[in-house]
Symmetry: C2
Subunit: 426 residues, 2 copies
């Protein structure tokens, strides 16, 4: 049994400093839980840091250090993170990372290498911040065939949507507030356009189905085009708008998407506010299980990183890390995907029309032609632009049929703006 475990941290930003804080404060807890003393031997960053005795300016020195057992990659982004992880694996190191982008993009390379080198890659902090959802899905629900994964996986967009909902803010104003509060980056594109959620959904799906599910297999729609008008109408109807990532096994393949959705306000997801995340996983035996917690923030993210280190430490202590892989990945396993147009849902549709008799008959006529059946209908008072809004919710309909109907409807001269279409979930 090893008595001391050395770690090297590469990338010393907010989360890295959180890792040091926790390992210092809860040192005894970590020793009791892992059976070994966890020691930070080196920290590498492009700039010198406030711990000169630990500072190393070249990551190659860290990943080649024979005394180091675990490399904690906290750089983020694709490069040099990918090189750090793969070179560290080749040097016989185990990895802890919080990097969803690199995992989603290089899943095959990273986990093929981990298998080959018999090392472990842990990445709890990459999805859902503090929430132990990777472990929950991979181990806690290990007995199950996974049927569904649905989640609010991005703190930035959830913060913005909470502001739009509770304070009637426009998307632009809410984004500015999120940036001020430190919950959105100067360039928020990866978050608001849904890519970050897609990365996380790809990771969860890859674990669930034992193959590499890529971001390009996911239909992604962000919240950057969302109008506060729809958030308000949704609220009047008893719904809250949330950006969901969803992966559902259907008879015709896995249905994968990221989209802003209307959630019934009685549903659990409606109670997830601001930077919180939540993930629902449904297994064939477990039924639905939900995990909830802070998706962002220094200590929540660092909590996940340190918990990974402690977990890994148990295997390193007995020198068996990697003999059994944590991630089951097979290049050969082909996953069948549901074509995007075949996805089924109830829909919320908002038509901007001129106030003229017969408009409704035209719209409902075309919806009918495409087999889209109406569940409820509501006409909103003429607004200051002299536009009238007609809101229709549909019964379960096929996505491409709804799209085709809207394409036909939007060509009519009575339509004043592109029709809004949002899924209704939960």
């Amino acid at each position: 049994m090893k008595k001391i475990l050395n770690i090297g941290i590469i990338g010393y930003g907010t989360v890295g400093r959180g890792v040091l804080k926790i390992l210092e404060k809860n040192q005894l807890i970590a020793i009791r839980k892992s059976g070994v003393k966890i020691k930070i031997k080196s920290i590498c960053d492009i700039r010198p840091i406030d711990k000169p005795d630990l500072y190393v300016d070249n990551y190659k020195t860290v990943i080649k250090d024979p005394e180091i057992d675990i490399i904690v990659e906290l750089i983020g982004g694709y490069e040099p993170a990918r090189t750090v992880i793969t070179e560290a694996l080749k040097n016989g190191k185990n990895i802890v990372t919080a990097n969803k982008a690199v995992l989603a993009k290089y899943w095959d390379e990273i986990f093929s290498l981990a298998q080959e080198k018999k090392k472990l890659v842990y990445f709890e902090a990459s999805v859902g911040g503090v929430i132990p959802v990777i472990q929950g899905l991979n181990e806690g629900l290990a007995a199950n065939e996974i049927k569904k994964i649905k989640g609010i996986l991005n703190g930035t967009t959830n913060f913005i949507l909470s502001k739009m909902t509770n304070e009637d803010m426009t998307y632009e104003d809410a984004l500015k507030d999120a940036q001020k509060a430190g919950f959105a980056e100067a360039n928020p594109s990866a978050d608001v356009k849904g890519l970050d959620t897609a990365n996380k959904l790809a990771i969860l799906s890859s674990i669930a189905w034992g193959s590499w599910i890529k971001v390009k297999d996911i239909r992604v729609k962000g919240i950057d085009k969302l109008s506060v008008e729809d958030v308000k109408i949704a609220s009047d109807f008893g719904y809250v708008v949330k950006l969901l990532g969803s992966a559902v096994k259907t008879d015709n393949g896995v249905d994968l998407w990221v989209e802003p959705c209307l959630i019934d306000h009685h549903h659990f997801f409606a109670t997830v506010h601001n930077e919180y995340n939540a993930v629902m996983i449904e297994g064939d035996a477990s039924d639905d299980v939900v995990f909830y917690g802070k998706g962002a923030g220094q200590l929540p993210a660092a909590s996940a990183v340190v918990s990974d280190i402690i977990d890994l430490a148990k295997f390193i202590a007995t020198e068996t890390a990697g003999e059994v892989q944590n991630v089951i990945y097979s290049k050969k396993k082909n996953i069948k995907f549901l074509p995007h147009g075949k996805s089924k849902s109830d829909y919320y549709l908002r038509f901007s029309v001129v106030d003229r008799p017969g408009v409704l008959a035209k719209i409902s006529g075309i919806l009918g032609e495409y087999g889209v059946s109406i569940a409820s209908l509501y006409q909103k008072d003429r607004n200051k632009d002299k536009k009238v809004s007609i809101i229709i919710t549909t019964h379960r309909a096929v996505s491409e049929k709804v799209a085709q109907a809207l394409e036909a409807i939007d060509k009519l001269p009575i339509i004043k703006a592109k029709t809004v279409k949002l899924r209704i979930e939960g």
Copy 2:
């Protein structure tokens, strides 16, 4: 590396049959995840079973079988479960159990023995049914000093409370419905009087603080004296009544209790219905993390048992099971408890009084004398018994002060029935 892992099941009831179902259906998943083939070698029960080739009539044969790696104890209750677990450990077996009663009562004996024999005892199914909360608390949040644990931990009482809330049923009628639906036993006492919740809270607290926290350290109040009148009034005030188990670290010791509480209907716990369970855990770094899922039912419980087997299998495959313990337990670690009377909360109080001037002044006067300050006050119309109900919610108050005030108030001739006192939480 071991290639085949043999398990022996002792106690073949609903959950045991569920374990077989899952291991059969999801055999390939189990092999891929654990790296070994999991084989049921023997099943022991007091009655012959429908699998004659696996049936063994004496548990001693099973726990002494040198080919068996894991004993799955599914008998329930104290004996012979305790003997099966301890004798199996002595025979060098690892254990998976769903038995909260035996763990809460014999924590010291079982985990001292596991340490001594370097074997593992896994017990995910003992708390929260399918929810991977033991693992979440023990591993996923391993980096944290635990501050709080709060949970809806008993499906039977939650089913009864859901019926009382949604269908205005009395406790007695709701209990009958729960029994019909298979969610309450013929003798429901352990559930409705809160003992089952206390067992589970004792287990979670023992893990959280690394010592043995006993049921006798928990102040326990069940739902069997709960009146539907209070459930209705709570609902009018925007609250839902739930049986909570709570363990909170305060400056003066750990505050442990099980009580029916009023929960704000916006709070997450208010969305937990019927047989579902939910647990909130707060760590110093993680902040609040919530786990939610089915607390009862054949497949949910069996999902937790089989996931434990798969997890254990990884250590057994590499022959390192027990070298690092999963449960950190030290006999020597003394936990300081907050005296029950010192617990603080907002309270809901319902006074049954005669309809006479000056009554309110008397009640509020005595509350004031004991330092209990009123947050809101409401007088309900005289009911058919000609009783008047006065409902008072208090600001944060010390439990024993409230109790002393009520003792004084209940002696007054204007009081027609014992005053109802419920905590307000969340």
